[in-house]
């Protein structure tokens, strides 16, 4: 207990030396309408010149009451709503929800569904990281990578569109399996994409990894230690970039990730540059997983036996998956009726956002933008 | 048993109201109906039992024709007499008011029809209000009203009667404003309340006169003293007291000039209009005058006033009713008109006839209102007769029952209205003096008008061409059983109740008058002592000329028939845009009638001051303006003047203090020291620019030296 206290003690605002009639300390308001806050995040910055003394996030501008909606929809009806939380990683959200309810129902999706789920989810991870990379680079001032990543992301969205008709909020999975059987040529499309995409990662890295200005802007910016990450509950690439080898796909294998061979990339310094490297490496690992999965898709049914009207037994369940942004957990309480009694989502962006203050202290204003970008938050998920 | 526990009758509705008040919000509609309607049904049963027992009790030789009185406790004043006062003859008397109940034939009649009609209307309301919000609130108010009304009826003294009187006024206010979210409804409620206050003021003053003059407020004692012959006929105090009481009656029973609230009261739900503003509450004035008959007969001036006001009200309201288009307003003016009849009857000394008309009127007017409610219900809220028509075969039960009621109110033989109205007209005719004959003409014309506007209503509503919108037409449906059954029961009453007073001239025995005889017997004697023909107690003496009576009956039947015929001719085929015959014949008259003789506007000019007469505002608002002017200019001016004077003296004093004392005495030396020190300070001023200035001065001197050396 004392240890965690000390781990959090740095979060207390150090009492600032307040000089007499100091005209230089000012409080400015960044957002909610600001090009670099990725939506409607409002950050109140306390500055000494350009140095950040502390900040406070004001969230909730995009609150839609997703959790509350969940209590008033049946289990099946709520499924599409989760896509709207992290809308750039809608498939992951759906996977987490479907698996949670499957856990509640004690059913398991058939193997074919599992494989397709893994393929689509990993594609989604790539898409999410691509979007992050483009916008992050844009925030730091490199405008070109955005177009590269969006061009390549388009290929993934095309696969989604062919599979389920939607590009962004896909609602690809159903409780107990898949929404649709894969279309003819799905495997070939995925393979084509992988072949197309691998060199593109090198292209991104060429643009940024050794770019001097990029390195100067990101290295030693927004450093956070693994201990602090754990204390704050930060997960995902941010945690791994701080040197903690924690990936739910390995740590608590879900779906059928235990069947695949992949590495967990980690960083050393926990700075913005490391987070960039970790995410790029994760894209490569995702490609590896998809390669294995697409070769091994078994034939078979795509839906487990799930009753038409889902009425789980009274009980509660927590299930979490490794979403592109970190641990995405669902806590569902069933009262035996067709609607969940309570749905609670543990969104990775929301938790990771808490680290912003810690990461920005002592940095400059321009770094705040870089750090917001590197946290990879999606306000739809933060505010739900 | 029933008689001794007569207090249960008002208590039952009170319990119902209390339940609604405390728990109503949480109760189901079925429970609300069960409690409220149940309490009234029980009250009705108790009332029947009580009346039955009373008739048995009063026919015993000990208590022959005596009123039954039971006093539970004294709630205002006490026997110890700390509320004592001196009566007019100087003797001390306690101001005392009991919770006591009085049952005699007069209150029996009211008790029966109030509980009976009330019960039917409660049943009806369960159907009518089924889809409205505030269901429990409505029934709570209704029960509270029943409690107040029964208190009023059964009170044994003027103060308790006044309690009930105010209670029904309050309920009337609450129920008119039931749709309080509608501005017009809340305005109407406020109007009713305020107009009634005027009457109540009169009532209170009259009550004080009685207390001061008679030393008691109990009906029995007052009547007893009045009958004792201590007071001469035309005693000025009694005249004043009765006139004031009549002002109260005017307010409650909507007589000229205080009738204006009643038509507006139609903003309330229709069952309320039926129960309160047609059948029961508005007859409270009649009841009160009838109850005070012993006093009224001692004041012939008051009697004449009552008669004239009644007759004028009757024809006045009937003429307005001729042209109104709102179905409920027609009925409202009809009510005012019929109330005028009743007061006419009371005024000419025919108390029994007046009460008889109250009795019959309660049934057929309630029936008319409930029928109108049924029509409105079926028309989805439409009240304008111009948009109705041809409803007869679509809501047959309503149509038929209402038709019966119309026949009754128009005075067609042998329906109830015929007997009561004829009795009044006959009594008026048979009073001596040209003025009374004139009143008969007025009453007769009113009867004609009544027939006309009622049949106009029937034809416009149930016959002619359909004039409603298609949507409304599609929704027309007969009302549910809970509404039609009361209609049918009331229709039976509208036919049959008149037979209770079948006159002697037609071979009947006029049981009704006989039943009331104990109450009005003393009055008959008084009138006889006045030396007047006592035709008023028709059953006692058969001095009147039967042939004349038959002629009058025929005449009034003819009037009813004429009215019917005129309505039939004008409205039989009424289609969209039909013409009003009056509008076609004399447009100015139609206009005046349609605007109700501009009475409301006139009141606005003279009394409320909502309209300005030229630049002058009269009435209440004008008084307010004037007093505001007085306040701001005269009172405040005086206050300000006082303040100004104070300030002036203060200023002078402070000026002296500041400049003379402080200035010369205290600051003077300091200032002197500062002035003297100034040159010394110039060298260490502390202001950078001063040094620069000194430098510049030095430069000037330097250059000056070099240029002009």
């Amino acid at each position: 207990m004392t240890e965690s206290d000390s781990a959090l003690s740095h979060l207390d605002l150090e009492t600032p030396e307040k000089p007499f009639l100091d005209a230089n300390e000012l409080v400015i308001n960044m957002g909610p309408q600001h090009p670099a806050t990725h939506g409607v995040l409002r950050v109140i910055l306390r500055l000494d010149g350009e140095k950040v003394l502390g900040l406070e996030c004001v969230i909730g501008y995009l609150h839609r009451g997703v959790e509350k909606i969940g209590e008033h929809r049946t289990y099946t009806m709520f499924n599409p709503y989760v896509d709207r939380m992290d809308y750039v990683a809608a498939v992951s959200n759906g996977l987490g929800y479907c698996e949670t309810i499957e856990k509640l129902l004690n059913v398991e999706a058939p193997p074919r569904a599992q494989y397709v789920r893994v393929i689509l989810t990993e594609l989604n991870r790539i898409a999410s990281h691509q979007l992050w990379l483009g916008t992050h680079a844009l925030d730091i001032g490199a405008i070109t990578p955005l177009f590269y990543t969006f061009r390549d992301r388009e290929e993934i969205l095309k696969i989604y569109e062919k599979y389920c008709g939607a590009r962004l909020t896909t609602h690809a999975f159903r409780i107990g399996g898949l929404q649709y059987e894969t279309y003819a040529g799905f495997e070939q499309d995925v393979r084509n994409f992988l072949n197309f995409f691998l060199p593109k990662i090198d292209e991104y890295e060429e643009l940024l990894t050794t770019n001097r200005i990029w390195v100067e802007r990101t290295r030693n910016v927004g450093i956070i230690s693994g201990k602090d990450c754990i204390a704050l509950g930060v997960t995902g690439p941010v945690l791994r970039a701080s040197g903690v080898k924690w990936d739910l796909r390995k740590a608590q294998p879900y779906a059928n990730y235990k069947n695949f061979d992949f590495d967990i990339p980690i960083g050393q310094n926990g700075d913005t540059y490391d987070r960039y490297l970790v995410r790029v490496a994760e894209m490569r690992q995702s490609v590896r997983i998809i390669e294995q999965a697409v070769e091994a898709i078994p034939e078979g049914p795509i839906m487990a036996k799930v009753p038409k009207v889902i009425k789980p037994a009274v009980g509660e369940v927590y299930h979490s998956i490794e979403a592109p942004k970190g641990e995405l957990g669902y806590f569902v309480v069933s009262d035996g009726s067709t609607q969940p009694y309570r749905v609670r989502v543990r969104p990775p962006s929301f938790v990771n956002l808490q680290a912003l203050d810690k990461m920005c202290r002592g940095q400059l204003v321009a770094d705040v933008i870089a750090v917001i970008g590197t946290l990879d938050i999606v306000l739809g998920e933060v505010d739900r | 048993m029933f008689l001794t526990h007569i207090w249960l009758i008002p208590l039952l509705p009170a319990v119902g109201a209390a339940v609604m008040f405390f728990f109503g919000r949480r109760l189901q509609k079925a429970t609300v109906s069960a409690v409220c309607v149940g309490s009234i049904v029980l009250a009705f049963i108790l009332a029947c039992g009580a009346v039955w027992q009373y008739s048995a009790w009063s026919s015993t030789s000990d208590n022959f024709h005596k009123p039954y009185q039971t006093i539970l406790c004294t709630w205002l004043g006490s026997d110890t007499g700390h509320l004592n006062y001196r009566t007019q003859d100087g003797s001390p008397a306690p101001l005392q008011a009991d919770v006591g109940f009085l049952l005699d034939p007069l209150s029996s009649i009211w008790l029966l029809f109030v509980t009976g009609v009330g019960m039917l209307i409660h049943i009806y309301s369960t159907g009518y209000m089924a889809h409205e919000g505030g269901y429990y609130r409505f029934f709570g108010y209704l029960n509270l009203f029943m409690f107040s009304m029964l208190t009023l009826i059964l009170a044994n003294n003027y103060v308790l009667l006044f309690v009930g009187w105010e209670g029904v006024g309050l309920c009337s206010y609450l129920l008119i404003g039931f749709y309080f979210h509608r501005k017009s409804a809340s305005d109407a409620a406020a109007k009713a309340f305020i107009v009634n206050r005027i009457g109540d003021a009169g009532f209170l003053l009259g009550m004080f006169f009685i207390a001061w003059y008679f030393g008691s407020l109990r009906f029995i004692e007052v009547t007893h003293i009045a009958h004792s012959g201590r007071f001469s006929i035309g005693d000025p105090i009694i005249t004043a007291a009765t006139l004031l009481l009549f002002v109260g009656a005017c307010g409650k029973s909507a007589q000229l000039p205080l009738y204006i609230w009643l038509p507006d009261a139609m903003e309330g739900p229709t069952p309320v209009s039926a129960l309160i503003h047609a059948a029961t509450m508005v007859t409270a004035g009649v009841y009160m005058v009838a109850r005070s008959n012993a006093l009224f007969v001692l004041a012939p001036t008051s009697m004449k006033t009552v008669a004239i006001v009644g007759a004028l009200t009757a024809i006045f309201a009937a003429s307005i009713g001729l042209v109104q288009n709102d179905i409920k307003r027609v009925l409202a003016y009809s009510t005012v008109s019929q109330l005028g009849y009743m007061f006419l009857a009371l005024g000419v000394g025919a108390f029994a006839a007046g009460v008889f008309h109250v009795f019959t009127h309660a049934f057929f007017k309630a029936l008319l209102f409930l029928g109108a409610g049924s029509v409105i219900h079926s028309m989805s809220g439409e009240q304008d007769m111009r948009n109705m028509g041809d409803l007869g075969h679509r809501i047959p039960i309503t149509h038929r029952t209402m038709f019966i009621a119309t026949l009754a109110i128009a005075g067609i033989f042998p329906f109830a209205g015929f007997f009561s109205k004829d009795a009044i007209l006959w009594e008026t005719w048979s009073r001596e003096g040209g003025a009374y004959r004139f009143l008969w003409y007025v009453g007769y014309a009113t009867a004609l008008m009544t027939a006309f506007y009622m049949f106009r209503l029937m034809y416009l509503t149930f016959h002619g061409r359909p004039r409603m919108s298609h949507e409304a037409e599609h929704h027309i449906h007969e009302s549910p059983m809970s509404m039609t059954v009361p209609l049918i029961v009331l229709a039976l009453c509208a036919v049959g109740t008149g037979w209770l007073g079948w006159p002697h001239s037609l071979g009947g025995s006029d049981r009704f008058t006989k039943f009331l005889e104990p109450v009005f017997a003393g009055e008959a004697r008084v009138l006889q002592e006045e030396g007047r023909t006592s035709q008023l107690v028709a059953g006692v003496e058969e001095q009147h000329n039967s042939s004349t009576e038959w002629l009058l009956m025929a005449l009034s039947l003819a009037a009813a028939g004429l009215g019917w015929g005129m309505a039939w001719r004008s409205y039989r085929h009424a289609d969209k845009g039909y013409t009003e015959p009056i509008a076609a014949a004399v447009p100015p008259v139609y206009d005046v009638l349609l605007h109700k003789y501009y009475v409301d506007e006139g009141y606005d000019y003279v009394f409320t001051g909502r309209r300005k007469l030229g630049n002058v505002r009269l009435g209440v608002l004008g008084l307010g303006t004037a007093s505001a002017w007085f306040d701001t200019h005269v009172v405040d001016g005086a206050v300000n003047a006082a303040g100004w004077i104070t300030r002036l003296t203060g200023t002078i004093s402070s000026w002296w203090d500041k400049w003379i004392i402080d200035g010369i005495g205290v600051n003077g030396p300091a200032t002197l020291a500062r002035i003297l020190s100034y040159p010394a300070r110039l060298f260490e001023w502390g202001l950078v620019q001063w040094y620069a200035l000194v430098m510049t001065a030095g430069l000037v001197g330097f250059v000056f030296y070099y240029v002009y050396r």
Binding site: F20, L21, D22, A23, N24 | E684, G686, L687, Q689
Partner: protein
């Protein structure tokens, strides 16, 4: 008047100088006082360059350049003092710089 002589420049310089002097002596705002000092220096520069033109040498111009250098140094130090002063007293009025006068 058509011929512009050295005297014209001198009169112009004198006028500028006087404007500067008035500014220094009367304004409260330190910034404007400093700017008035710049005006004075410029008036001097004008005289120097005009005399350099008159005598045909370049020494006057050299002096003007040194004066400009001086002005730069003066402005830097003066504005530095101003910033420090403003930070402590939240005012830029010169007559509030009166800590000697208590």
């Amino acid at each position: 008047m058509l011929h512009i002589t050295t005297l014209h420049y001198l009169v112009l310089g004198a006028a500028l100088f006087l404007l500067g002097v008035i500014g220094v002596l009367t304004r409260r705002n330190v910034v404007i006082v400093l700017m008035s000092i710049e005006l004075i220096l410029n008036a001097v520069n004008l005289n120097l360059v005009a005399f350099s033109r008159l005598w045909g040498g370049l020494h006057g111009q050299i002096f003007a350049i040194f004066v400009i250098t001086d002005a730069a140094a003066e402005a830097a130090v003066g504005l530095g003092i101003l910033i420090a002063f403003f930070r402590n007293k939240e005012t830029v009025n010169i007559d509030e710089v009166n800590l000697l006068k208590w």
